[in-house]
């Protein structure tokens, strides 16, 4: 399948994806978070490209290109456009504080590895470790959504989770069948657009997109 050298490169890149997620959690303001998300997506598309190169599965390249274009550039531009239009200032840090949230993310990673430790060895070159990474990226995505206040950051949390999915699909089975991959990518795009439109409406009515204002519906 793939030579040991190639497996090391791929595992190295997966580890880099995990580190980027941690960086994203530690950011205070919005624009760096979006930028880190863009880098992560680009990294993932490179990873997909390399896997396609090493294993000769050329149809992965299509998905790699789609990811690069969509998640690398299109969605971050859309988010930046939203931020400019809505003139959002700095996002105050989450109620948990950076150090504690990092610690919590560490625990989530531990849990992810514990859960996936006993699964059978994936034949693909990326191996079981990358499954652990993808599961932890998903869990951290949910964590971001659960702690950050700004609506835009929650959208980013959602997109990070989706990146985790992409990595999992890539590492386990060289990606899902093509139609499914395309469908998933298309859905992510539509979700981002819909979220954008909703953000505009919310901003008009609430003139802020801080979720604490949106707690009128209770009990």
């Amino acid at each position: 399948m793939t030579t040991p050298l190639q497996t090391d490169i791929l595992t190295g890149l997966t580890a880099l994806v995990l580190i980027m997620t941690f960086i994203m959690v530690s950011h205070k303001s919005l624009t760096p978070t979006i930028r880190t998300y863009a880098y992560q997506s680009i990294l993932l598309s490179i990873l997909a490209f390399l896997v396609g190169l090493f294993t000769g599965e050329h149809q992965i390249w299509i998905i790699a290109v789609v990811t690069l274009v969509l998640k690398g550039f299109a969605i971050p531009k859309l988010l930046n456009y939203i931020i400019d239009r809505l003139k959002i200032r700095r996002e105050r840090e989450s109620p948990l504080g950076i150090p504690t949230s990092l610690l919590a993310c560490g625990l989530l990673v531990l849990l992810a590895y514990a859960a996936t430790s006993r699964l059978p060895q994936a034949e693909t070159s990326l191996g079981r470790a990358s499954l652990g990474v993808s599961l932890s990226v998903v869990l951290i995505g949910v964590f971001i959504m659960a702690t950050r206040r700004k609506a835009v950051t929650q959208t980013i949390g959602l997109l990070v989770m989706e990146n985790g999915m992409f990595l999992a699909a890539l590492s386990l089975t060289y990606g899902m069948p093509l139609i499914v991959e395309l469908g998933v990518a298309f859905d992510v795009l539509v979700a981002a657009i819909v979220l954008g439109i909703l953000l505009f409406n919310i901003n008009q009515t609430f003139d802020t997109i801080d979720t604490r204002q949106m707690e009128r519906l209770a009990e």
């Binding site: 998903v138 999915m165 069948p177 919310i202 009128r216």
Partner: protein, 490 residues
């Protein structure tokens, strides 16, 4: 007969397009009504075909409809038709009260039928990936329907609905990926490993550990969309802020689509995992039943009350499927149908009350029995039906589930089930008697809101009353075949 599935999917799509093209409200309503009735007829034909000649498939096993999906198709088309009929009267009244500009009515009908299209797609897609995409589609289509009124509360509800829904669906995707991985592990990569038909054959050989984690993700993911507690938090906001026909569709049908997803995965994992998935379903079912109790006991807004009642009934269905004996499955699947009918009936009544009294607060409504003659009686009949009183259909399914629970020895679960049903009955009774009885406010004319609304309500009431006494043989066969699909090996 194989391309019947195409026509089924085409009907709502064409209606959506037709409604989108014209500006005149009258033509939109006509298109909506004709489209919905065509969908209903096609749904009935598909169901009949499936029951008599077995599973239908089209486009080379890309579209596949067995008894379980036939049940979902029947529910989607039937409730879709009733809601379409109800929307005409309701939306006219809303436009008349200028809650929103008439122009937006076009958007409503387009999104409504797109919503029906995506739900039918869920029912017929054989590939679990495509099923995931169509469930994602339902969320996106219904997001704008929830936030239709563009007020602060409805936007907040739409935002929560979309965000929590997306989180759930993404988790479900992870589960689908794991199932795909275990299938590839057994079959090798390029052989349609995500097709339901292939997966169910090799269900016995899949790796139990992977399936365990996969089912956890699927249960939490699709459970969020199905309203299983504690992931149900978006449901009361979304169902109470959406326009009534939409909240009826959400409560009666969308929850069942997500449940349908869970049932598919339950069928795949149960041969290898044994009772792991059953216990989880029973646990989540009881938690949903329990969580609904306090919110029904102290209810301030009757649409939220109905939303929590949906959480309760989803819990009952999960409990029934969890028990897993043939009788329990029969009861659970019958309950999916009965709940869909009774819940949409109650939402129509709620719509009429909202149109008449202009408020959703329970203590602001008195003497509905006198102010709205037909709706008042249906309010009481619906209340009795939704809480499982005998002469109506919901009693039959709840009693079957009770018996199955006792026969299979789940004493603790069944006692809790009875206790929660009792508390919910008490909560409902207090709200309903406060609204139905007493004198209506002076000067309130004593007539119905609109003939369309009453027609839709009577159409559903007929089902609730008849199904309480007599189950047509054709329908019983459908339920048994669907039950067999889930408990294939047991």
């Amino acid at each position: 007969m194989t391309d019947i599935l195409y026509y089924l999917l085409a009907a709502p799509a064409l209606t959506a397009i037709a409604a989108g093209l014209t500006k005149s409200q009258r033509f939109q309503e006509m298109a909506n009504l004709v489209g919905a009735s065509v969908t209903l007829v096609l749904g009935a034909i598909v169901t009949y075909a499936v029951v008599t000649t077995g599973p239908q498939s089209a486009a080379g096993s890309f579209l596949y409809a067995d008894a379980l999906s036939a049940l979902l198709i029947l529910v989607v088309s039937l409730i879709g038709f009733a809601c379409a009929m109800y929307s005409i009267g309701y939306m006219r009244h809303e436009v008349h009260e200028d809650h929103f500009p008439a122009a937006r009515l076009r958007l409503y009908y387009v999104l409504f039928h797109a919503f029906v299209f995506t739900m039918l797609l869920v029912a017929v897609s054989n590939n679990l990936g495509i099923m995931w995409i169509s469930i994602e589609g339902t969320t996106l289509a219904s997001a704008f329907l929830v936030g239709f009124y563009r007020q602060e509360t409805s936007l907040e509800a739409a935002w929560k609905y979309l965000i929590i829904g997306s989180v759930g669906i993404t988790l479900a995707l992870f589960g689908t990926i794991l199932v795909y991985f275990s299938a590839v592990h057994v079959l090798g990569p390029a052989s349609g490993a995500l097709e339901w038909t292939t997966l169910i054959q090799i269900a016995g050989q899949l790796d139990p550990l992977v399936l365990k984690i996969a089912f956890v993700f699927v249960l939490i993911g699709y459970g969020t969309k199905a309203g299983l507690a504690p992931m149900h938090t978006w449901l009361p906001d979304a169902h109470s802020q959406a326009p009534t026909p939409v909240s009826a569709m959400l409560s009666a049908v969308l929850l069942n689509c997500a449940l349908y997803g869970i049932l598919r995965f339950h069928a795949i994992v149960s041969p290898t995992l044994g009772s792991f998935s059953n216990t989880l379903l029973i646990l989540f079912g009881l938690v949903s039943l329990g969580i609904a109790v306090p919110f029904v006991l102290i209810a301030k807004d009757y649409k939220r009350l109905l939303a929590y009642s949906s959480v309760e009934h989803v819990g009952i269905i999960a409990l029934a499927i969890g028990i897993g004996t043939p009788l329990a499955l029969f009861g659970g699947l019958l309950h999916i149908f009965n709940h869909a009918i009774a819940k949409s009936l109650m939402f129509f009544v709620a719509g009429n009350l909202n149109a008449k009294y202009g408020t959703r607060r329970i203590d602001a409504i008195r003497g509905a029995l006198l102010a709205l003659p037909a709706t008042g009686i249906i309010l009481l009949a619906g209340f009795l039906a939704i809480t499982g009183s005998p002469p109506f259909s919901v009693f039959v399914s709840e009693f079957t589930i009770l018996n199955a629970g006792f026969a299979s020895g789940h004493y603790v679960a069944v006692t809790l089930y009875l206790l929660f049903l009792l508390l919910i009955f008490a909560g409902f009774l207090m709200s309903m008697s406060r609204m139905a009885f007493g004198k209506p406010p002076e000067g309130m004319p004593r007539r119905e809101v609109s003939p369309w609304n009453t027609a839709a309500m009577v159409f559903l009431l007929a089902f609730v009353v008849v199904m309480g006494v007599y189950l047509p043989a054709f329908f019983v066969d459908l339920l048994h075949q669907a039950g067999a699909v889930i408990a294939v090996v047991k």
